[in-house]
């Protein structure tokens, strides 16, 4: 149950070495390097329903990305890439984490140019390492996306993703109830629209839906106890906190405005609102405002 500082630090150090070692190669190759940072506030980090259990916190997130696009003839392209990500919480420091992922995707365009409809299928594998190591997990994601830029102003696309998170099962807290609370499967859909206000300002709206496992962290709540499929201690939220794995449905939206001060960078303000109804009557909401910065070196 102890903290896994060495685990997260080791993963971060290895990934940083890989990226730094690759940079001279990147400089003279087709690889594209990107960096991003975000400042977020999640008003309900633990997905709790009852006010005493609700914990809000702010995070700083930094990411390095590297990818290469391989055109395969006129219609297809393959993108191979990876991200190194670090996230630090202001109060819930046990949730500080580093992750490293690899992604491969195949994209098809029907026609030439920016307005041709497209579809993309991709898979990614991510290893995330937390300050509290019991939350360490492998994350697998398969995505299908399709979209079309209608004109210079309007861009539409939709995405389906299947997420699987595999964590190590924990000790059973209740007889017959699994301790594997941090492994989750979910189906996610999103419909997105972007609108170009002018040369450098873009508005974004996304409608989100999700069905699958959710983890609510709360005290020893009788209400939640009716329905959990797994239960485990969650000391990152405190000594009496328990993580309840439930099945739930989430609906929400994301709005944002992005501003490109240069062709290589993007500043964004975003807001996400999610409402979840979990089996057993556990319902919760969360709001996440964020400030983001993205930079693409080439």
């Amino acid at each position: 149950m102890g903290r896994g500082r060495s685990s997260a630090a080791t993963l971060g150090a290895i990934a940083a070495l890989v990226v730094l070692g690759a940079m001279p190669y990147i400089a003279r190759s087709d690889w594209t390097l990107g960096a991003a940072a975000a400042l977020r506030h999640d008003n309900n980090v633990g997905n709790a329903e009852s006010p005493p259990d609700i914990v809000g916190d702010s995070t700083i997130d930094a990411r390095l990305s590297i990818f290469q696009l391989f055109p395969l003839g006129e219609s297809y392209s393959v993108t191979v890439g990876g991200d190194l990500n670090g996230e630090a919480f202001r109060k819930l420091t046990g949730l500080n984490n580093a992750s490293l992922d690899g992604t491969i995707s195949l994209k098809k365009k029907w026609g030439l140019g920016a307005f041709a409809p497209w579809a993309r299928a991709g898979v990614s594998v991510e290893r995330s390492s937390y300050d509290y190591s019991y939350r360490n997990a492998w994350n697998y994601r398969a995505t299908l996306a399709s979209g079309r830029r209608i004109d210079e102003r309007w861009n539409l696309w939709a995405e389906y993703a299947f997420d699987r998170r595999v964590a190590s099962p924990r000790t059973e807290e209740a007889p017959g109830l699994s301790g594997d609370a941090f492994s989750q499967d979910s189906h996610n859909v999103a419909v997105n629209v972007e609108y170009s206000l002018n040369e450098s300002t873009f508005l974004a709206l996304g409608l989100l839906g999700r069905r699958g496992d959710v983890v609510s962290t709360a005290g020893d709540s009788e209400k939640i106890n009716y329905a959990p499929r797994a239960l485990a201690e969650d000391p990152a939220f405190g000594p009496e906190a328990y993580a309840y794995k439930l099945t739930g449905t989430t609906y929400g939206f994301r709005v944002g405005v992005n501003y490109a001060p240069t062709p290589h960078s993007l500043l964004g303000l975003g807001f996400e609102r999610l409402n979840t109804h979990a089996d057993g009557g556990n319902s919760y909401t969360k709001s996440v405002p964020e400030i983001t910065w993205d930079y693409r070196f080439r």
């Binding site: 003839g73 996306a145 830029r149 997105n192 944002g256 992005n258 993205d294 693409r296």
Partner: protein
Amino acid sequence: MNRLLAAAAGLMLLWGAQPGGAAELRALVKDHRGKLIANAVILAAPLDAKSALRAKPPADAVDQVDKQFVPYVKPVFVGSKVLFPNSDHVRHQVYSFSPAKRFELPLYAGTNAQPVVFDKPGVVVLGCNIHDWMVGYIYVSETPFFAKTESAGTAAIDDMPPGEYTVRVWHPSMEQGEETTARRVILNADGPSTVEWELSLKPALRVPRVTGSASAGYP
């Protein structure tokens, strides 16, 4: 290159028909707020049809640097061959759907692409099928007398045969039609004539190069 072309064409005219010396046209282009406008193409068409030329169209080039077309706007004389060298490390697939010239250069790197002959006057919008944000313009001029404004909003066409011309301006973002900017000017060898335009520009909407984490993600 434009000045060279204009100079060459002008010399050819002067050789046979213009013993009185060369004329010069200067242009200044700005918007309604007085902001100076770059990348505006100034065109001067002689009213004398005989002056409409025997100049041999030159070879020209539009490069691709940092996944952008360079220059953003390129005026060429009708019939010109244009090369599309690729100075990037990545391959590009240049195309145009414009009625003035439809073409596609299959994926290539370096200088492997065949030159494209622009044999019809008009505006040709360039794109890259791999990098959607890449946009460029080739203005195919039917007159050899043209120039492009620099960042100071100015352009000059020198070594022109004196005479009467229709001058006009084109810009990729202009709201009004190009024909509405047409004016008659008489150029003589006494000194340069200056023409000013005030254009209304609409936003130059482009596909963003960097997308946020909530956007469509990897290209």
